[in-house]
Assembly symmetry: C2
Homo-oligomer: 388 residues x 2
């Protein structure tokens, strides 16, 4: 943590958050240059962490340095908060927030740890989905049984698991768990217009993911499905024999890892209870069911019409010369929820990385133009916030 | 193979089949005595292979030796056929059968490689189920995807797999694949009476298998379900993340290993086609489906009223002093089908092992009384066949 030495009266205080830890660079043989020896190729710097998130965070540092060099002071007081556990859950930082609320006291938080939807299309992310994880375990016989000798005479736990999972969604992609949509905050007309501004080509999307057809909840666009609708996904299933060839058994156990993404105003605990109750009701009495709760995280949403959001929108517009898009993202960024809960402060989520910057993948890069544009944008942002 | 030196005119020729290979003895720490150092404890001989199938086969050898010692000739000509690949599918023996049909020419085949339904309840098994194996593979995206970023926007292959599997049976335990029951030979009243004679305690069955409740196709008893009805079982499912904790992905692939047990007069190729067609019809166009056929084996049935079956029933009645039960078994014994197909000869399936003899498990044993009774029964059987 590094902070302005004194709090200047009448000045806003901005916390700029980043992380210095990175994802493992493997597989190394797919890198065209060594992941920890940065090289500039085709106007981009290639290195693990270049865009996620050292390059983006460095742009903010240079913006403040630029102010200090030219004007001897920045338009706002600034705290730089840098952690080393972002890729593994930010547990220590959450503890640090609770223990140092006083010194972290600020007016707004800036996080540049994501990407832009397209080159020259800046975005302000004002909402993120939350998560509810659970594991479903169905136990049948006490040991695997010969499927010839016992097949047909007892319930197969893998079959029961499949039946329960098959009942979680309908053919229109809607979750069938009663009450699950009760608390979902509907998208406003303005929000839908903004999500419709995000670039989307069905052909490119299919090609990028390698799917034969897109599919999701009827009545919503792909961006709406990804960003603003609750979903239930099977992350993994384990049961019985999984090796080569065949082993003719009735498996003793079948289990599935399941996560839901939740949206404002769904509460994780209530969603978990609805899912638990529904699964318990769907499970026959021929097997034993256990449901193991996993991690839970709230969805995040802030107003894109607050003074800080408007300052960010103005800065983005000035830096990039186009109207920024207001977006919601489908993933979860737990630390942003913790900032809100512990410090009571909203985050401005502004990504500088380009869509092809390969965070978490081989040949991660950060575009040099994006980097300089990021410094400019950060200076404009601090100026706009300074005006509030 | 060992055979009577010359074919005596007017004498029946009996082929007695056994195998000298055994299942691996592991886990060794569960054995009370070393698996390959036979020991007699409580009037039973403990060793891997004692009941499956060396002890049972040895009883037949001693029966013939006994005839040769006392009367200088057996009531029938005899071929002993012993193989070493029974536990891995009898592939070489099948080839051997085809190449040596002439010298294996016989009137009936005796196989003692199974158990009795209870001590002092002998049984003649006159039917076995066949098998149809297949693997079902559902491919979604070309690589695992972040379930936060993409969840809800494409089809999850694990979900499709579950939905297809859930549609294979109804809540009454009946297979829902159209046409699947068309060729099933119904159980006669006499067959149902015979299966009802088999010992069955619901409480003991549940305790033995460790299940909370029995379940199977409505309208049939547990023995009928195990022995004489077609079944479809999931042998294993693989998809996505299966390690500790959670990994929030949409898996790229989901697959299931499935086997059906089929009964007389179902044909494996037709059953496979019905399953394939049904699954193809059930799979949405949002994913890619492949179905990989596995091994197939026909069901086996012979008349329990043939002269050879009647000879076996008489021999069992005389040896054990009770009326033998006529039974059908749920497992598949492929070599018996090959005997019928290649040599055109039926097998008399007569088990000497007791229900607690632990074949394939630690502490396999063979009861000494069963062994001596087996020699007596084998002698009576050869005498009865000799009278035909």
């Amino acid at each position: 943590m590094a902070s302005s030495p004194v709090r200047r009266p009448g000045k806003k205080k901005v916390l700029i958050y980043g992380h210095y830890d990175v994802q493992p660079p493997e597989p190394l043989d797919l890198w065209k240059s060594p992941p920890f020896e940065p090289q500039i190729i085709n106007n981009a710097i290639y290195a693990r962490g270049a865009s996620d998130n050292k390059g983006q965070h460095f742009a903010h540092l240079l913006a403040v340095e630029s102010f200090l060099g030219s004007q001897n002071e920045a338009p706002c007081d600034v705290i730089f908060l840098l952690e080393g556990e972002e890729e593994v859950g930010s547990q220590s930082l959450t503890k640090f927030l609770r223990e140092h609320k006083d010194i972290l006291n600020c007016d707004c938080i800036v996080v540049s740890d994501s990407g832009m939807p397209a080159r020259n299309l800046p975005a302000l992310t004002y909402a993120l989905r939350g998560v509810v994880a659970l594991e479903l375990i169905i136990k049948g016989p006490s040991h695997d049984l010969h499927s010839g000798v016992y097949g047909g005479a007892i319930e197969n736990p893998a079959y029961v698991l499949c039946k329960i999972i098959a009942g979680l969604k309908d053919d229109q992609g809607r979750i069938t768990i009663p009450g699950i949509y009760d608390d979902v905050r509907p998208l406003s007309a303005e929000e839908r217009l903004q999500l419709a501004r995000l670039p989307f080509s069905e052909d490119e999307f299919k090609k990028q993911l390698g799917v034969v057809k897109i599919f999701g909840e009827s009545g919503f666009t792909t961006w709406e499905r990804r960003a603003a609708r609750p979903t239930i996904e099977i992350n993994g299933i384990t049961s019985g024999y999984q090796g080569e060839g065949s082993k003719t058994i009735i498996p003793s156990v079948a289990s599935a890892k399941i996560t839901l993404r939740i949206v404002p105003d769904q509460r994780p605990e209530r969603v978990y209870e609805l899912v638990r109750k529904h699964i318990e009701g769907a499970c026959p009495d021929t097997v034993t069911l256990s449901i193991v709760p996993g991690h839970m995280g709230e969805a995040y949403i802030t107003s894109y019409d607050s003074v800080y959001s408007r300052a960010a929108i103005d800065a983005l517009r000035k830096a990039y010369g186009v109207e920024p898009v207001l977006m919601r993202e489908g993933g979860s960024v737990p630390i942003v929820t913790e900032f809100k809960k512990i410090l009571g402060v909203d985050s401005l989520l502004i990504g500088m990385a380009l869509p092809d910057d390969n965070p978490h993948s081989p040949n991660e890069k950060f575009d040099i133009d994006s980097f300089y544009k990021g410094i400019e944008m950060s200076m404009l942002l601090l100026e706009e916030i300074g005006k509030i």
